[in-house]
């Protein structure tokens, strides 16, 4: 089978899993106790009001029919209306997603620029002081829950040292000077030509991004270390050393490139899982992103919003996995071959 055929099959598989996910999430959100219409209308709503809204939302229909209605809407990009914000869920998602993407992208960047070099250093100094030190750091960062680290960061850097802001994306004083173009504040502050706001945006994102990236840093560090050690002992590396190539060139060009494959896989998975992990971090830092939107939706039985957010994260998850597969196929022909054989 050709590589592209493999990819098409993968895509079909993705579609099936997304439909499966939508059925599960949709059904769960509908059978959860608590009448969404009642929750939306608030304390003093009369029974008639509740019935009227329920009928308007189609809640009186059997769940399979509701699901079909929902899917019909989905095809034209209509995810229904949020009961709480009273806006189209798609509008809300488009509004809040950039904040989350920005947060996890910065986290990802930190994961890479901190995790990989530390992994390389650890591998170079196998069983030495640096290796043990990074092992300790990795152990700590993987095992301590992210939200705890987030709160500790707030206490240390916000409360005790007062270096950085600990809530929101931007100081309220900058709000009117920054126009929303892309929703990515780090970009929009520059497009608005407001450098002070740009610096403020960085100040706001550092703590949550770092808190979110720690677990990933630990993983990337360990994976890089072990694959570096594996590759380092390969014959061709020995040979390069034997040719007298400088050690930094051997390490960073030849060894790291080949050792990078497992790391790339992990990075792909990490990026997707960061979307999920962002939930608690966003709550701790009052970060106005998709995750905190989703949490509030769950708490308020805002079922259209719950399905919308879950589906968005699902789509992101499978797309990133797919992308990683494609990338791996490009980086390493052996993997592409294996993919073709496997199907």
């Amino acid at each position: 089978m050709k590589y592209w055929q493999y990819l098409v099959r993968r895509l079909a598989g993705i579609l099936v899993s997304l439909i499966g996910l939508s059925i599960i999430i949709f059904t769960t959100s509908r059978v959860l106790p608590g009448n969404p219409a009642r929750m939306a209308l608030g304390a003093l709503a009369s029974e008639e009001q509740v019935q009227a809204l329920a009928a308007e939302m189609g809640l009186n229909k059997p769940i399979p029919l509701q699901y079909l209605d929902y899917m019909r809407g989905l095809l034209v990009g209509d995810l229904g209306t949020s009961l709480e914000t009273k806006r189209a869920v798609s509008t809300d998602i488009v509004y809040y997603l950039p904040a989350t993407l920005e947060l996890i992208t910065v986290s990802m960047f930190l994961t890479i620029v901190i995790g990989i070099p530390l992994g390389v250093i650890a591998a170079q100094n196998k069983d030495g002081f640096a290796d043990n030190a990074t092992r300790l750091v990795a152990f700590f960062s993987v095992s301590v829950p992210g939200f705890f680290i987030a709160i500790m960061f707030q206490l240390i850097f916000g409360y005790l040292l007062e270096w950085l802001p600990i809530t929101g994306r931007l100081g309220s004083e900058f709000g009117s000077g920054v126009s929303r173009f892309t929703g990515f504040l780090l970009v929009d502050t520059l497009l608005s030509g407001n450098l002070a706001a740009h610096v403020d945006a960085w100040a706001h994102i550092i703590l949550p991004a770092l808190a979110l990236s720690l677990a990933g840093i630990g993983q990337v560090m360990r994976i890089t270390r072990s694959s570096m050690i594996d590759v380092k002992d390969q014959d061709y590396v020995e040979a390069e050393r034997g040719f007298g190539l400088p050690s930094w060139l051997v390490t960073y060009k030849y060894t790291l490139k080949n050792a990078f494959i497992p790391t790339l896989t992990i990075l792909g998975l990490l990026y997707a899982s960061l979307l999920g992990n962002a939930f608690l971090i966003e709550l701790v830092y009052s970060w106005p992103g998709l995750a905190s939107y989703g949490v509030t939706a769950v708490l308020n039985n805002d079922f259209n919003a719950v399905v919308g957010v879950t589906m968005t994260i699902g789509v992101a998850f499978v797309s990133i996995n797919f992308l990683v597969d494609v990338l791996l196929g490009r980086v390493d022909p052996r993997i592409r071959l294996a993919m073709e054989e496997a199907t």
Binding site: A43, E47, Q49, Y95, L155, G168, R180, V199, P288
Partner: protein, 581 residues
């Protein structure tokens, strides 16, 4: 370093100890920074790029012409001209700011400041003229005629007229969400009549004494502006009644205008310069309400001077820690919200009044109040004691296990005969502790208690049927409009049954008729007697354990003054009351 020191440090540009935030965060430093960059150009750039939405508001600049412009000038001048800003926190986001839809405490908080109702509650819950200068009531007590005050204008500049009031009532009733059932039960929209430009009358279907009190929730919108911004919708030539517009924008005449609305993060208000009413000296030019759901953040922000007032929902530990800080004080204010153990009076074994009475005498109220909810006040019957019509003769059961055991024995129960379920909101520490105390207390008198924590959504659903409602349900309930009617009707009247407020399923004809009679009684003294009787009648049946009346706490920066409690939801967050000392 105290809060004040920190604030001072912040303003000292160039100090080595200052933070990144301090360097760029305050106005003076920002100006210096910009100057250093030769920023005439940058500032200009920032100015002309305001075509889209801005980060202090979602669709602010795109949606409304007049409003948006106004807002932008307000806020951009805000930071630099030494204007004052009150920064407070809230624990739940502001879902909507549409006056026909808002119901919870954050939504009403926004509404009372953006919009004006005809009448407004004072600290005692008495109604004062607000947009209405005065009013008359017809001889048959069914027609209320209001004269609007002169000179009141909407934020758009349009004058507030009788037509706007009529339109607001029609919109409220047509959309039929939020608190509209309060009016809809007694008023048809055809019976709201414009007499002249400043006179509007409401003719009710029947005499309804709480009517004026419920009017505090009818917020008057700018008809012209709403219609100008209406989109296609279900309401004929009124389109969507401006629903999508008012969801993100304001069209009110209130003391503050919406300056920014970022649902997940914060909402900000700026003072309306042409407001008809008065502000306290030193009233705030801007108010920013940040959504902060966790206590450590509130603590940090209060300490570093980035927050001036906390929400009422911080943990006891947080209030203690904040109170220990210099320059921060914690105020505890008695409210009219009661914490009830609502007992299902129609499901065995709690359908037996003797069982309910035994429970009422078997519970240790003092421990509950002093240890679990410190600062709260004793309850006495269904109505909080601060209401003028509270019946002081009601016997509030006290902790007396001996008596409780005796009541059960007299009714023929033996130890272990009775098992009841106690439901409370999952993961809510206070209610969990209450449940454990109740379990222990009941164990002493031979009643088994199964604790059954649930989500709030589940509890509201359970309440819709007698069979589904657990035996004991822990619920806070407080008035949404300043009248005892809100306490009695929603909780104990059969018509209002099957909601979380009425988990007693009391359905007592006498109680119903007393509440109905009070509703149709205009004479205040006669009504007070009816209310006294209904309290007694309810208390004698032990449908609830009346555990305590809540005191709410806020932490304030020392220079924030003026917080004024009013016995109606969120009317105590009326910003013109607040001032900086």
């Amino acid at each position: 370093m105290s809060r004040k020191d920190i604030t001072q440090t912040r303003s000292q540009v160039g100090s080595k100890s200052e933070s990144i935030r301090a360097r760029f965060g305050d106005a003076a430093s920002r100006r210096n920074f910009l100057k250093a960059l030769g920023t005439a150009g940058i500032a200009g750039l920032a100015g002309c790029s305001g075509g889209g939405e801005s980060y202090n508001g979602e669709e602010q600049t795109t949606a409304s012409g007049g409003d948006g412009e106004n807002t932008e000038t307000e806020t951009s001048s805000g930071g630099d001209s030494g204007s004052s800003t009150l920064r407070m926190s809230a624990t739940q986001r502001f879902g909507t700011v549409d006056p026909a839809k808002g119901t919870d405490y954050t939504q009403v908080l926004a509404l009372v400041n953006l919009y004006d109702p005809l009448v407004f509650p004072d600290t005692e819950g008495n109604l004062q003229g607000h947009l209405a200068e005065d009013w008359t009531v017809s001889d048959d007590n069914q027609t209320y005629t209001f004269t609007l005050r002169e000179g009141a204008t909407f934020h758009s500049g349009n004058p507030v007229t009788a037509e706007d009031v009529q339109f607001s009532a029609e919109r409220f009733l047509d959309i039929n969400q939020g608190y509209s059932s309060l009016l809809g039960n007694v008023l048809s929209k055809e019976n709201v009549t414009v007499e002249d430009e400043r006179t509007v009358s409401f003719t009710l279907d029947r005499v309804h004494s709480p009517f004026l009190a419920t009017l505090v929730l009818l917020f008057v919108v700018d008809k012209q502006q709403v219609l100008d911004n209406a989109e296609d919708g279900d309401f004929g030539d009124r389109g969507d009644y401006g629903q999508s517009f008012l969801n993100d924008n304001d069209a009110g005449s209130g003391p503050y205008e919406l300056a920014g609305f970022e649902r997940q993060a914060q909402i900000s208000f700026s003072r309306y310069a042409d407001y008809w009413g008065s502000f306290k000296d030193g009233a705030y030019d801007n108010v920013v309400v940040q959504i902060i759901t966790n206590d450590p953040t509130v603590r940090s922000l209060m300490k570093t001077g980035e927050l001036d007032m906390s929400s009422q929902y911080q943990s006891e530990e947080t209030y203690e820690a904040l109170a220990a800080e210099d320059d921060i004080r914690v105020e505890s204010v008695p409210t009219v919200t009661t914490f009830y153990f609502k007992i299902n009076t129609q499901k065995a074994p709690t359908d037996d009044p003797a069982v309910r009475e035994a429970m009422a005498y078997g519970f240790d109220y003092e421990t509950a109040r002093n240890e679990i909810a410190p600062g709260s006040l004793p309850a006495q019957g269904p109505l909080p004691t601060s209401f003028g019509v509270h019946n002081d003769d009601i016997v509030q059961p006290t902790y007396d296990p001996e008596k409780a055991r005796q009541i059960l024995a007299d009714a023929g129960y033996e130890e272990g005969d009775i098992t009841v379920q106690n439901t409370y909101v999952k993961d809510y520490g206070l209610e969990e502790k209450m449940g454990l105390l109740f379990q222990q207390n009941m164990d002493e008198i031979g009643i088994n208690v199964e604790l059954n924590p649930q989500t709030w959504g589940t509890m509201t659903e359970l309440a819709t049927s007698v069979e589904g409602t657990p035996h004991i349900n822990q619920v806070f309930y407080g008035p949404v409009y300043p009248s005892p009617d809100t306490v009695f009707y929603n909780q104990y009247h059969s018509e209002a049954a099957s909601t979380w407020m009425s988990m007693e399923h009391l359905e007592d004809e006498n109680v119903d008729s007393l509440i109905d009679e009070a509703r149709s009684t205009v004479d205040a003294d006669a009504r007070a007697e009816l209310y006294a009787e209904v309290q007694e009648r309810i208390a004698n049946q032990y449908p609830d354990l009346f555990i305590f009346v809540q005191s709410k706490k806020h932490a304030f920066a020392d220079d924030v003054k003026g917080y004024t409690f009013r016995p109606s939801m969120s009317f105590d967050y009326w910003f013109p009351d607040f001032y900086q000392e």
